[in-house]
């Protein structure tokens, strides 16, 4: 079974973001970028499936600017066999990415597609579900456990009230939650080897997909700052403040 894994280049999760002075967007100049953490989990799961002999080939794909090839090289260093870069400098939103991935699915015919459940920049949590709808394949979102059994996959999902397990026919789309696995770090020899692995570059036009959406970003603002309050010296003072000052008890 071939596994397709989608990755996204985003701001490093440790970086504190700044809004541009003209409020047009978040300022990403000279900011450290990295693979989206949920995508790292997706790559790890795909590589583990290969190590278990369930997957025969792992193909990493990304949609983004030229620099996003760094994230594909990371995926290759972590164990993916080859990569596809769909290059665009436009802001590609979930629907356009899902349409492009659907074309890749049509071409590659993977047995499973694994994606992160959301990217930590736009926080949309949509692409996997949209891809499932467009390809007509079943989806197992927010996965904390994935078990392939013959022509089915059992996915345990993190839902609001607890955990839900569903069974899907293969091929299927899986999106990862945080506790699916702990991604490994790439070792130096693997990073060197990754430079020689195949990486195809395509454009959205090659797939006949238009990237711009009908949603426009009008403004980006910082949220209302919360001011730190006071330190209290004792439990008694805390209870007194909550009763008489904040009036929440």
């Amino acid at each position: 079974m071939k596994v397709l894994v989608a990755v996204k280049r985003v701001i490093d999760y440790n970086v504190k973001i700044r809004v541009k002075a003209d409020h047009s967007d978040v300022d990403l100049t000279n900011v450290k970028m990295a693979m989206n953490p949920f995508c790292e989990i997706a790559v790890e799961e795909a590589v583990r499936l290969k190590e278990k002999g369930v997957a025969t080939e792992v193909v990493a794909v990304t949609v983004g600017p030229k620099a996003a090839q760094e994230q594909l090289r990371t995926a290759l260093a972590l164990g993916a066999d080859r990569a596809i870069h769909i290059e665009t400098d436009e802001r590609a939103e979930s629907l356009a990415v899902a349409k492009l991935l659907a074309k890749v699915v049509e071409e590659e015919q993977p047995g499973m597609v694994i994606l992160g459940k959301q990217a930590i920049d736009t926080d949309n949590n949509q692409t996997g579900q949209m891809l499932a709808a467009l390809t007509g394949l079943p989806q197992g979102t927010f996965a904390s456990e994935v078990a392939v059994d013959g022509d089915k996959v059992s996915v345990t999902r993190e839902i609001d009230g607890g955990l839900q397990t569903i069974a899907l026919t293969l091929p299927a789309i899986v999106t990862t939650d945080l506790r699916l696995n702990e991604p490994r770090y790439a070792k130096l020899p693997d990073i060197m080897k990754a430079k020689k692995k195949p990486l195809d570059v395509k454009t959205p036009a090659d797939y006949g997909v238009e990237v711009p959406s009908k949603v426009s970003l009008l403004k980006v603002e910082s949220p209302a700052e919360r001011k730190g309050g006071v330190k209290v010296a004792s439990v008694d003072e805390l209870i007194d403040k909550l009763k008489n000052e904040a009036k929440v008890l």
């Binding site: 579900q129 949209m130 499932a132 709808a133 467009l134 927010f142 959406s213 949603v215």
Partner: protein, 308 residues
């Protein structure tokens, strides 16, 4: 304008989130219908009919919609969406699971986690874990939106909408329900509680979370946790408050042994009053707390419980 709200269910009953989504629909303006889909959901449909501002409740009661699996729910929404200008659901794990499918099949974008309505086509939503708020305008003919419930006060329950059955039945041979392990608790639901008390890595282990029980009982609070506490295996994932867990905005939020990672703050910083209890007086949580108490939580918690 004409709006369809997908009702959230919890164990077959109408979940509190739906009243907040209807409030968001009212902020957009226009006729509001609510879709209740599931198996054995008549009681939920009747509860939805009482929500203020709802004109019609549409009920799809069929085994294929049991557990609201994504594939049949998406197909049902595609069948029903014609004629509506907006389809809304709460940004719950169900809403997030289902609505993008509708959007993709209708070839429109989806707006996630909307927390304010500027107009019928312009909305505010958080990005970068709530560290920035984006104002976005959608020119799609159908607007598909998940709503962050903490952004909208629940509507009242003095309505009397008509209830009508929807006889659309779709096929689903691709996905099947196996089992669910839901947390059983007499406490209020984390998302809707007036008071939330959460523990972090500082709690040390899962056993020590019992120290929060007595205080939660006295305050009628829900109990939450930081991602660190969930990742460490102290408590189950459904208790997680944060960017990828529950978003809460109670009147009072008490953070115990939580350092205050950006990821956690994203889930609770809209709370009215925040109390932080932590032994490290440099912990970032104190920068957002209205009241901070520096000290050993194992001494402070029993004292707090006895004095409340």
């Amino acid at each position: 304008m004409s709006i369809l709200v997908l009702a959230d269910l919890h164990e077959g009953q109408l979940a509190g989130a739906t009243a907040h989504v209807v409030a968001a629909a009212q902020a957009i303006g226009g006729d509001i219908d609510v879709l209740v889909a599931g198996e054995g959901v008549q009681a939920a449909a009747e509860a939805a009919a009482k929500l203020d501002g709802v004109s019609k409740v549409r009920v799809a009661d069929n085994a294929v919609y049991a557990h609201q699996l994504a594939e049949p729910m998406g197909a049902l929404l595609v069948e029903l969406a014609d004629g509506y200008t907006h389809v809304l659901a709460s940004a719950s794990t169900t809403g997030k699971n289902v609505l993008p499918r509708l959007a993709a099949l209708k070839d429109v974008s989806q707006l996630s986690d909307v927390l304010a309505v500027d107009s019928a086509d312009t909305f505010k939503r958080p990005i970068y874990a709530g560290n920035a708020i984006a104002t976005v305008k959608s020119d799609d003919t159908l607007k598909v939106i998940t709503v962050r419930t903490t952004g909208f006060d629940a509507v009242g329950t003095s309505g009397s909408a008509t209830v009508e059955a929807v006889d659309v039945v779709v096929d689903n041979s691709q996905s099947s329900f196996v089992k669910e392990e839901l947390a059983q608790s007499d406490r209020p639901e984390l998302g809707g509680a007036k008071v939330v008390i959460s523990g972090g890595r500082g709690m040390g282990n899962g056993e020590n979370f019992k120290l929060l029980d007595g205080i939660a009982d006295k305050l009628g609070a829900a109990i939450g946790a930081s991602r660190a506490a969930v990742d460490a295996g102290f408590v189950p994932n459904d208790m997680q408050v944060g960017q990828t867990g529950k978003i809460v905005a109670p009147d009072l939020y008490i953070a115990v042994g939580i350092s205050g990672a950006i990821q956690h703050l994203a889930g609770m910083k809209d709370s009215k009053v925040i109390v932080a209890i932590n032994k490290d007086d440099e912990a970032p949580i104190f920068q957002v707390a209205d009241y901070g108490l520096v000290g050993d939580l194992f001494e402070i918690l029993p004292e707090l419980e006895s004095k409340l």
